[in-house]
Amino acid sequence: MENEPVIVERLYNAPIGKVWKALTDNQEIKQWYFQLSEFKPEVGFRFEFTGGPDDGPQYLHLCEITEIIEGKKLAYTWRYDGYPGNSVVSWELFEQGDKTLLKLTHTGLESFANNGPDFAKTSFNGGWNYFVNDALKNHLEPTT
């Protein structure tokens, strides 16, 4: 039921090594994901970033790498500073000829349910809408 994970898959027109680099090289991470002060693809490495709506509360996201299969899989915990609950985000890559299938899985979201409706609805809604709008803008900008 609700505690089923969120799974999003995408086929990229890029070789697997290149996608892996985009996921694990901080210079590249900065360009499409989050601004991290440092990133090392090593189990136990911790990183954090702040996210939320422009005019709303900002949440400090705390992550710790739990699994690395070089070139194929990256997994880390994803939780919110000062709030109970913990989730896991995993990125898996599958080579498909000269393309790469990426499978993103986010499990454990129900553990945040305890944080209350304000957190669950208002904050996330605002937060995600921010990204939606932001990402949409980015989506329209580049010319192909």
Binding site: M1, E2, N3, V6, V8, R10, Y12, N13, A14, K18, V19, A22, E28, Q31, W32, Y33, L102, L104, H106, L109, E110, A113, N114, N115, G116, P117, A120, K121, F124, N125, G127, W128, F131, V132, D134, A135, L136, N138, H139, P142, T144
Partner: protein, 105 residues
């Protein structure tokens, strides 16, 4: 006291109860049979589910049946959907990033 769908699903036993009655209306005893905890403990969880609006009880003779309230469940899936949208957008951003790189190299 806080009563909403998010409190309802914050407890693993309550999530299991929701899973059971999502497919089929059951009475209190039928639900309790699936758990090792006492019947009063299960009743308490069902009471909370009722207060959260996720379950409605109907009395039929001696039995009290629990019906899931799907419109309330939808509130939860909407919340989870926010994450799906978020990740979909992040994967879009990655796609743009990868295509930019191709052009520059």
């Amino acid at each position: 006291m806080r009563r909403d769908v998010f409190q309802a699903i914050a407890d693993p036993t309550r999530r299991e109860i929701i899973g059971l009655i999502a497919h089929k209306t059951l009475n209190l005893n039928e639900i309790a049979e699936n758990f090792e905890m006492s019947r009063p403990a299960i009743s308490q969880h069902i009471k909370i589910l009722t207060e959260c609006g996720l379950v409605e009880i109907t009395q039929q003779g001696r039995n009290r049946y629990c019906n899931i309230q799907f419109q309330k469940l939808a509130e939860i899936s909407k919340w989870v959907e926010q994450y799906r949208i978020f990740w979909t957008n992040k994967l879009d951003a990655l796609e743009i990033h990868l295509s930019k790189e191709t052009k520059s190299t």
